[in-house]
Symmetry: C4
Subunit: 228 residues, 4 copies
């Protein structure tokens, strides 16, 4: 079942390695079939070199395994929480990519300082609050998703397609697995650029009109970037 | 038409990927045929892996498409403004390369601190002023070119073959596409070196006689570097 | 003798190069056969490109060469000291990997600031004290091991599978050579992340409940990460 | 003539690219035949991809071309000055490698903070003083060599096989071309490590007994590192 989606999720997981965002088993991608209400996700702790398309796990939105011989990623409940709260997203990516993870450890949102960020993120990439002892000792992975959703409050998740989980690392998403991976690459790149930027000038900032211009020329109703 | 120039522009665009200056579609190269008054430029938002020589677009200096099925780069009006103002240049390159873009986000010119820079840039690499709300909401990409030209004022663009557009990223140029790409590699490298240099010693500077010596041994009337 | 262990130690040494932790001859891996009381270790100063499985040296716990035509790594006495003091470990790795070595030169322990570290290290990665003139002029390599063991005091070496030797570099270990190499990759990665983290926010810290949660979901009695 | 030395110098030049120390034409290696009093050096400004063994130039110690159709490296007079002053060296390397060049731009010597440096350099890697207007406008490349020699004063050049030329970049040397390239790799690596080290702890230092121990276990009369 969902063979096409499994293929897409498999390839997206392998792309994380290709883009240098993941070493060992430190990442996972899932995608949802909204019509069936089913999610395809990477198995837990399986090495990328030996992983196959047929290892992808199908779970329902309550986390029950519907198909697959292996255990799904331990982060599955976080992914499911995001699918339930953000109805417009089709895929979720989690990595421990170096610079985005460093910002998450620092507990700081990544401020928008350039058009590279504004081309994809309509503002800062937010960092969640610290999780409480109760959340950590409770249903931890699900609570991680709850804290992400709380952080987004009124924001459109497709306008800010990523987040930093404090002391943990980045999650990103998109309309499909390919776009979610694309956004995880962008997130790592802007995390790196911003760290360097602040070394050069800790006082810099960016005009909000320029943020608006760049986001809208790619994503607004009158977008004119690309071949559309 | 202009088959040789298309080939040159195509190869220069691919070189940006090879030199690690561009991921996804974050860069573009153009070159001008001064005799015909026509510019060859990369199409907008096309992936490098699938791009072909025949995808290159020919535009006139007013930005009208003269040949090509695709839309030209959304940055085309910036390139055209540079060709109009800088009559000695034959090609323009734009990237979001990591370190040069970080300096642009920081809003800081890259000071000349070593011979690596002086071999190509006769002084600092300037950063433009912030663009105004009117410029951003108006003919934005053309205004970007106007602000670059304003920044150069009385300087010879072949003596300082690059610029940082504030909160955006670097543009570079040269006599032909190959030289323009070469200068974009140099610009990224000196942006990286200067960031590290200031970490080691924020108070350092460079003797202007040494700048002059190195620029002129490569580019002066009595140049003696290389096989000429 | 110990052909399987030699193969394992050889491959682990080559992996250090593959993971970018070692240039030239700047690293070594050993593994112990606890039943035989024998250690297999890399020869001293042999280039990785020409090294063969049969070049691996077998020594006893007093450092006597039991098999092999070459001299064992000059760091052999350090490895032996660790095997004697830490009875649960099966392999030891030493590298001069860039970021971990920089923290060692800085004389600073690597604080736990994120789950990437807590997934493998149950707390900070400690840095040893400076060695004394007597230790350096005496049986230096053995004393290096003694200082590491002193640093661990009451800690379980499998809960903190690595250390920084001040002004020198990292040592790591594990149940077998593969795990010890894995931990040396993790150690380099968290050293890099922490350096960047402190650039972004020198005041950051991490909730100890989150450290406990992540270490135990991988290594505790009720571990649920991976396919077990 | 000197076919073996030409082959060695050619390979050493190509190794600079392989080790990531050189882009474009930003580096050069030479080696001397002390018996003949002749030096083999890379031609000026020739791309590495097209360079051949037969392009290597033979010059005498006064800089006269003895064999070769191309112009020798513009840095040839610097190399010759080092061969004249340092009778124990057999080869010289110059690069603009990123971190070593950044320290040169910063005008700072690289302090010895770890055993990675002490294994090759018996102390700091010195940085030259600024060159005067007269030196720069005069016989510039020869004067660069004179300033390096002045910086070394009473030091043994094989005990400190490299230097930073202020606002320029590193030169290194060794008994032969292979060792000189090896030392240029070490110099770049310790420049990188020290920059990171000072970010982590600006107050760190290193015990001189440890420097002595490490230098001598590799290079002293009772050296025991490696297979000798």
């Amino acid at each position: 079942m969902l063979e096409e989606l499994k293929e897409e999720v498999y390839r997206a997981n392998m792309d994380l390695v290709r883009y240098g965002l993941v070493i060992f088993t430190w990442g996972n991608v899932s995608a949802i079939d909204r019509h069936e209400g089913l999610v395809v996700i990477k198995p837990s702790g399986v090495e990328y070199e030996v992983m196959k398309v047929s290892d992808m796990i199908v779970v329902d939105l309550e986390g029950n395994v519907v198909e697959g011989d292996l255990k799904p990623s331990s982060d599955t409940p976080t992914h499911l929480e995001l699918y339930k709260a953000f109805s417009s997203i089709g895929a979720v990516v989690h990595t421990h990519s170096t610079y985005a993870t460093a910002w998450a450890r620092a507990g700081k949102s990544i401020p928008v300082l350039g058009t590279t960020q504004a081309d994809y993120f309509y503002g800062d990439v937010p960092c969640t609050r610290s999780m409480t002892e109760e959340e950590i000792k409770g249903d931890y992975e699900r609570e991680t998703g709850v804290v992400i959703v709380e952080t987004f409050d009124n924001r459109n998740p497709l306008h800010v397609p990523g987040v930093l989980v404090k002391n943990h690392g980045p999650f990103s998403w998109g309309k499909d697995a390919n776009e979610a991976v694309h956004n995880s690459v962008v997130l790592e790149q802007i995390a790196k650029m911003d760290q360097i930027t602040f070394q050069v000038n800790p006082e810099t900032d960016m005009n909000s009109h320029l943020v608006e211009k760049h986001f809208n020329r790619k994503h607004g109703v009158n977008a004119y970037y690309g071949q559309r």
